[in-house]
């Protein structure tokens, strides 16, 4: 616990890494796939060397260079809208569940009234 308090109150010199810029858009894509950069420009997923922290041998982590797909702006690429499919699918699933629950409640009310 003292380590937590110390770390939260004292400015850390080496902070844990956040995803490299323009990397999240290409996480489940393949090289050459169209993407949109962090600042909204059309781009293409290109493999590049980036620095990351590697925790596979424990803490403190090691700094390593790895190949990673990065969304690189390009004039020829068409802009792509960020994927909404997962949210659409999960929202629809939940809506169906809610609908079933409401129908069940309505059905019970009808039975009760009869």
């Amino acid at each position: 616990m003292p380590l937590l308090i110390l770390s939260l109150t004292v400015a850390a010199t080496a902070l844990a890494d956040i995803p490299p810029d323009n990397s999240t858009q290409c996480r489940s894509a393949s090289a050459g796939a169209p993407c949109t950069t962090d600042d909204g420009k059309p781009g293409t997923c290109v493999s590049q060397k980036v620095g990351r922290l590697d925790y596979s041998e424990g803490v403190p982590p090691k700094s390593v260079q790895v190949d990673m797909l990065i969304c690189v702006p390009s004039v020829s690429a068409k802009s792509v809208v960020p994927a909404t499919t997962p949210f659409l699918a999960s929202g629809l699933v939940l809506a169906v569940m809610l609908g079933l629950l409401v129908m069940k409640v309505a059905g019970r009310r009808r039975v009760g009234a009869a």
């Binding site: 380590l3 850390a12 844990a16 925790y55 596979s56 939940l94």
Partner: protein
């Protein structure tokens, strides 16, 4: 004989046989509900700690895929269906709308909006109402100013909210305080580095078959922290997530069961069918099996898919807690 009876009867027969053999040892633990909940709670917290120390990446990857949907069903059952909140149409629409929107990708400000109808619908004016709305306004302001930071905080805190909900569900004997106390001790031990050597010996820092790594979890569920502390925050999340599942899948159902003795699987199914109806229940089973099956093909994808679906439930827990605070429990 129904399909559910045909499937569950052999499991019940097997379970009865095992319990008969182990009766001399298990009876003292199982017979009394309070004792049973106590040791199940302690066992769950201790085993969550051990699993976090041995195979955290597996726990983080498999937990949501296997236990996620059942825990959501339990969440809705004990917070909404059993108290009859779904029978209040105004509440269902006004609170259900924002909750549903979160699963379509709406941000935390929208999710938090479910708190307002939860405390306002059929609520007498009181100082508690003012306090609850003040709390909602403060949280909304925080979510508005920095949605990412708010979501991170909410992600970690909501696991502990489950323990709080469980604590508030029934009058508690002092001995039950062991369960939240052990949970907090576990979190403190993780931040003090108690699990680091165990992870190194067990090789738990890496699990390539899960398709996930500490690097990814650090990048996605921790803020910019000193790297070792960030890794321990991931471990703490893993531990609390397991406790969260244990609360919704073991402790709350055991506590809330009308009769104190454990039920057969067939009785459990019948009770679930009574609460939800056959159609929704079969849909839940199909969803749980679907996500588990998806996990066999693409574990990271299944985990992510489940997380999108489950976005609503943290806000649901918060809204119901706020309602309990203003209105009293079970209204």
């Amino acid at each position: 004989m129904s399909v559910s009876d045909a499937l569950l009867t052999p499991v019940d027969v097997l379970r009865a046989g095992v319990l008969r053999v182990l009766a001399p040892w298990l009876s003292p633990l199982y017979a009394d509900r309070r004792r049973r909940v106590w040791w199940l709670g302690v066992f769950s917290v201790v085993s969550a700690f051990v699993v976090t120390g041995l195979v955290p990446l597996w726990s983080l990857a498999l937990g949501p895929v296997l236990l996620g949907v059942p825990h959501l069903v339990s969440d809705v059952r004990y917070l909404v269906v059993r108290p009859g909140l779904h029978l209040r149409h105004a509440l269902l629409v006004l609170a259900g709308g924002p909750l549903l929107a979160t699963s379509f990708g709406a941000g935390p400000v929208v999710g938090l909006a479910s708190v307002v109808p939860a405390v306002l619908v059929a609520t007498p004016r009181s100082w508690k109402l003012v306090l609850a709305l003040g709390g909602w306004a403060a949280l909304t302001a925080a979510a508005w100013l920095d949605p990412w930071a708010f979501q991170l905080g909410f992600l970690h805190a909501h696991n502990l909210v489950a323990v709080l909900v469980w604590w508030l569900l029934s009058p508690r004997a002092a001995s039950m305080a062991w369960i939240p106390a052990l949970t907090l001790v576990g979190v403190a031990a993780i931040f003090a580095g108690a699990l680091d050597p165990l992870l190194t010996v067990a090789g738990g820092w890496s699990a390539p078959w899960t398709g996930a790594s500490f690097t990814e979890f650090v990048e996605t569920i921790t803020p910019a922290l000193e790297p070792t502390l960030a890794a321990r925050l991931v471990l703490s999340f893993c531990f609390l997530q397991s406790v969260h599942y244990a609360v919704w899948l073991r402790l709350v159902p055991d506590d809330e069961r009308p009769r104190p003795a454990p039920r057969t699987f067939r009785s459990t199914w019948a009770a679930l069918e009574h609460d939800f109806g056959r159609g929704p229940l079969l849909a839940f089973v199909a969803l749980a099996l679907g996500i588990a099956g998806w996990g066999l093909v693409n574990l990271p994808g299944a985990r992510l898919g489940y997380l999108h679906l489950a976005a609503f439930h943290g806000y649901l827990e918060l809204a119901v807690l706020a309602r309990w605070f203003v209105h009293g429990r079970r209204t």
